[in-house]
């Protein structure tokens, strides 16, 4: 392909965008709309995943130590725990701290346990977070094998429930996102097909005059890329700005609990930026090339 030919393609693509301005607007706005739907659901999904992993990170193991362990032994146990790669943070809780916590938990009825300080029935313990919550059971067992550890508790039932819920929500939003994405892409491909259909006469004329398939395709391809890109950037702008505005707004109101556990706007935009640009481009390019196939056979 000569450089002049490529220049012609670009010229034709831009001319066509202008001359079919009505259709160009339709294409761009459809791309924007589709990317907005996908983006909206994607943001929703990313946040759900984010919140879910937040919840999962809250899962703790509690390793109760035998009543008679000495200070040195505790240090030793801690070192052993630290050497375990599956364990995240390690916090030591003495039995005095445990009692204090308990009395706070039962709140107003504190009087019920007054006098227990002198005769503390509780145990020293390590509070551990783990890196992979689904491994909780096995890690607990391995820790119980350490000398000086009496028992490891982690509220099996609750962990189980939490894990099931988060896993359910994760996969549900993933499924919904994927379905919506597929439907949206289907719609946009329909739209592109129809725009190309409106120009099938033009395509066939080019072929009758002796243009090769690629010669016909190139201007459409460039046109598709430009329109797809414009669509992607517009969608990104709308979505990014709304999300920024929304999280910002939420921060100063009663919704701060929620907004604080959302992915920050900057990070979110960074994360979806390239998906959008690549998505918009490929929608435009692949969409027009595929839709043209039928009309090139003349």
């Amino acid at each position: 392909m000569k450089i002049n030919t490529f220049r012609n393609f670009s010229r034709d693509a831009i001319h066509n965008i202008w001359r079919n301005s009505w259709m160009s607007v339709a294409s761009v706005s459809s791309v924007v709309a589709v990317l907005l739907i996908i983006g909206l659901v994607l943001i929703f999904m990313v946040n759900v995943q984010y919140i879910a992993s937040f919840v999962e990170d809250k899962i703790e193991l509690k390793a109760f130590l035998e009543l008679d362990v000495e200070y040195e032994e505790i240090i030793e146990i801690k070192e052993q725990l630290e050497s375990n790669e599956m364990i995240g943070t390690i916090i030591y809780e003495s039995k005095e701290e445990a009692l204090e916590k308990f009395s706070q938990q039962i709140g107003e009825r504190k009087d019920l346990i007054s006098g227990l300080e002198e005769n503390n029935p509780l145990q020293n313990s390590f509070i551990l977070t783990i890196k992979d919550p689904s491994q909780a059971g096995e890690i607990a067992k391995s820790i119980e094998r350490i000398k000086g550890v009496e028992e490891v508790k982690y509220g099996e039932e609750i962990v189980d429930k939490v894990l099931k819920s988060t896993r359910f929500i994760r996969s549900l939003t993933l499924i919904v996102t994927v379905i919506l994405a597929i439907i949206s892409i289907f719609i946009i491909s329909n739209t592109i097909k129809l725009t190309v259909y409106g120009r099938k006469k033009e395509i066939s004329i080019m072929k009758y005059v002796g243009a090769t398939n690629w010669y016909v395709r190139w201007p459409f391809l460039i046109e598709g890329a430009i329109l797809g890109l414009i669509g992607a950037l517009l969608a990104l702008l709308i979505l990014g700005y709304s999300y920024y505005y929304f999280t910002g707004m939420a921060q100063h109101t009663a919704l701060s609990i929620i907004s604080n556990s959302l992915v920050p706007a900057g990070q979110m935009i960074n994360q979806i930026k390239w998906y959008f640009v690549i998505g918009g481009l490929s929608i435009g390019v692949i969409g027009s090339i595929l839709s043209m196939r039928k009309f090139l056979k003349v």
């Binding site: 080019m206 005059v209 002796g210 090769t212």
Partner: protein
Amino acid sequence: MLQLVDICKDYKNGHRALNNINFNVERGEFVFIVGASGAGKSTLIKLLLKEENATSGRIILDNREITHLKQKEIPYLRRNMGVVFQDFRLLPNKTVYENVAFAMEIIEQHPKQIRRQVPMVLAMVGLSERAEHYPHQLSGGEQQRVSLARAIVNNPQLLICDEPTGNLDPNTSKDIMEKLNDINYRGTTIIMATHAREIVDDAQKRVITLSNGEIISDQQKGGYNYED
């Protein structure tokens, strides 16, 4: 240069548009194809262009069988021919100038060459003033002349014209015929389907007459002699 051997063409709905067509065209000939409306003239031209495929028979162009061609080879075949279509087939989004230039662009001619050649052909068909018009801004005859300009701009070996004067007044027709004669003298083979009795009678060239899809006469220096 061109040979048609036992060509038949049945359209999908079963209509037989061409029946057992045989003729040769020598390099540099000027051949009129005449016949009543619906006789099969355009169909014959569509076969040459590979717009339709023959149902049976063989077409040989420049010693090369083109009866069956791969999709990919068709564009290169078409580039060797200039065609004036009965329904013009201009690109609606391109101006007159751009429509003609397009035929040169697809064979990757140099822009300088394009800028020199296109105004020349437009002047030839009398459309210099319409260069910046879009097809829908032209009269029927003007569109027809753009189609002609596009067909000749690349100096093709073979020029095929389907009714190139159907929308032209007698004077403009005569001008156009003179130009075609010039082109023919310079070596281009011309095949022209037409109804214009005056033109055929004046030209004294070879005339092939079709009737109901069959050749009923093929005369050197003939006239428009088709009678029902």
